[in-house]
């Protein structure tokens, strides 16, 4: 197989090829859409059954009722430092409240920042989308030509 100058073909071929690696923090992070990243909760549907907590192998997810017995207020807390991103909680949830996102850049400088309240996160996201929705409607109205 060996003959002089065989490397030349390979070397010349590599001149026209794109790099096999990516300069990650500077370049684009390409994550497949099916990648199991950080969990998000649809708190509206959560009934606080605790099946996610029961099946979590890393004891990373916790469901607690911060309200009263009559007026329930369930909060789902996720410890990102413990979470192994297996998404078994997602499979165990009968209401389909939990889903994964391709968000994998979750490192922080403080350990306490890694404990996230998924219910509060969902409420904040709802508030933001509620604020944006009227603005979008107004923009659509403005764009309509007056007859």
């Amino acid at each position: 197989m060996a003959y002089p100058g065989k490397i030349t073909k390979f070397a010349m071929g590599h001149l026209s090829k794109a790099p096999a690696t990516r300069a990650f923090p500077l370049g684009e992070l390409i994550i497949t859409p099916h990648f199991r990243g950080k969990l998000v909760l649809k708190a509206d549907d959560c009934i606080g059954c605790g099946l996610c907590e029961r099946d979590c192998p890393a004891y990373a997810i916790k469901v607690e009722n911060r309200g009263t017995k009559e007026n329930k207020d369930f909060h789902v807390t996720l410890n990102l430092a413990h979470c192994i991103f297996c998404c078994q909680c997602m499979d165990s949830c009968r209401k389909g409240c939990l889903s994964y996102t391709p968000n994998v850049q979750l490192a922080g400088f403080n350990k306490d920042d890694l404990i996230v309240d998924l219910t509060e996160e969902w409420k904040a996201a709802q508030a933001v989308s509620a604020e944006e929705a009227p603005a979008e409607e107004a923009a659509v109205d403005e764009a309509k030509p007056e007859e």
């Binding site: 060996a2 497949t32 099916h34 990648f35 192998p57 916790k62 807390t77 078994q88 994964y100 404990i115």
Partner: protein, 408 residues
């Protein structure tokens, strides 16, 4: 007459990026005797399974090994499904085989890169790891993670394979076919590679059987033993393939076996994709598993993987035992290193594709005189280490504060 020198290799990253300590007695450049010391990376995986349900244990077992995660989880589930009397669907069995063979491809490519790096052939290292990324991308898309795919679940698999993913798999296999042709040419015909690897780390057929070596290490010495053929599980009985063996019984033979196994794996992936039956991917699995005990085997990329599960009728397994393939290959390691040069030791260690953390288990100290058994608890172990460092190194380790484990 030359002086004997004892050279410790490790415990920090002796050949691969994991802890183990090898004490080699040298005469000149030759190794006279070798003592293999493992046990630096015990994680208590088996014990932690006992306090978790079968579903929770599955994810612990999946993390036994960072490379053959699918093999361990499949082997564990074979035990659990046998105990529960659950039979998975054919489509689920094919998906398990598909993932298993993709895992074999990425494991062997990883090994090829590591071995190439250790012998100073860094071009091959770059090539092999570049191609491995293609397989890892496929696994990430199919399973949801590059390493711990999480595709298995009791009673089948969690995710189905879509037609788009099948197209991706086939186009990647086309690329790998071309690359593998180059690796085969290299492994079988390159004189420099053969000169470097031949007669290094010899372990003959009889010695392989004596030490209980498994996987490519044994198959490189003409031991025709592959669980996929001997005791096929999942859909392996339906998929045609050849068991690769070699006669060299050294690191060169192990390279040839692994490279040719990759070619077989590509064929198996193509067959599994083309003949994948339709149907469900999941059947119901009971939460409580009936009492009983089962031993199951699976051909992991590194060799025969054995799992034992004892159930007591509750939600938790009573006992889980994992015999990782590296554990079987360790026994012949000292014999392989002895008689070779010191410079070959890292290569010989790497040639069995060892996984240290898969292997490490708890120790029970037996007192031969009194017959008493002793297991250290956390406080005793801490005191032992403090005494050890004081005596051996004159260093007072008692002042080091160890953080308490904190949940939430």
């Amino acid at each position: 007459m030359s002086k004997k020198v004892i050279v410790p290799i490790g415990p920090q990253h002796p050949a691969l990026k994991e802890p183990a300590c090898f004490s080699l007695t040298l005469e000149g450049e030759k190794v006279l005797s070798a003592v293999v010391g493992v046990g630096y990376n015990h994680r208590g995986l088996e014990k932690s399974c006992e306090s978790r349900s079968y579903i929770q244990s599955l994810y612990i077992i999946e993390r036994v090994c960072g490379i053959c995660s699918h093999s361990h989880s499949t082997c564990f589930l074979q035990c659990a499904e046998e105990l529960a009397g659950v039979e998975i669907t054919r489509r689920a069995a094919y998906i398990r085989v598909l993932m298993g063979e993709l895992e074999r491809l990425h494991s062997h490519l990883l090994w090829l890169g590591v071995a190439a790096h250790l012998i100073g052939f860094d071009t091959l290292f770059c090539y092999a790891w570049r191609d491995r990324e293609l397989v890892l991308d496929l696994l990430a898309d199919l399973g949801g993670n590059r390493v711990n795919y999480g595709i298995n679940t009791p009673g089948g698999v969690r995710r189905d394979v879509t037609p788009e993913q099948i197209q991706d798999i086939l186009s990647t296999m086309d690329i790998l076919d071309k690359q593998l042709a180059y690796y085969v040419e290299l492994a079988l015909g390159d004189t420099v590679l053969a000169a470097r690897l031949a007669n290094v780390g010899k372990l003959s057929k009889e010695e392989c059987i004596h030490f209980g070596a498994v996987g490519p290490t044994a198959r490189a010495a003409e031991v025709n033993y592959d669980i996929r053929k001997v005791g096929p599980t999942a859909a392996y009985a339906e998929i045609p393939f050849n068991v690769i063996t070699d006669t060299h019984a050294d690191v060169f033979g192990r390279t040839v076996v692994r490279v040719l196994e990759m070619v077989e794996s590509v064929k198996m992936v193509r067959y599994a994709v083309a003949n994948m039956p339709d149907g469900d991917i999941l059947v119901k699995f009971p939460r409580k598993v009936p009492a009983g005990e089962v031993v199951s085997r699976y051909e992991a990329p590194r060799g025969e993987d054995v799992h034992y599960v004892k159930a007591n009728g509750s939600e938790h397994p009573e006992r889980v035992r994992v015999r990782a393939p590296s554990e079987a290959n360790w026994h012949g390691m000292a014999h392989m290193i002895e008689g070779d040069y010191l410079a070959d030791a890292p290569l010989i260690i790497a040639a069995i594709d060892p996984c240290y953390s898969c292997t490490d288990r708890a120790f029970v100290l037996n007192n031969n005189n009194t017959g008493e058994q002793q297991v250290f608890d956390w406080k005793q172990l801490r005191q032992y280490s403090i005494d050890f460092y004081k005596k051996e190194h004159g260093f007072d380790a008692s002042k080091i504060k160890i953080a308490e484990k904190k949940h939430f």
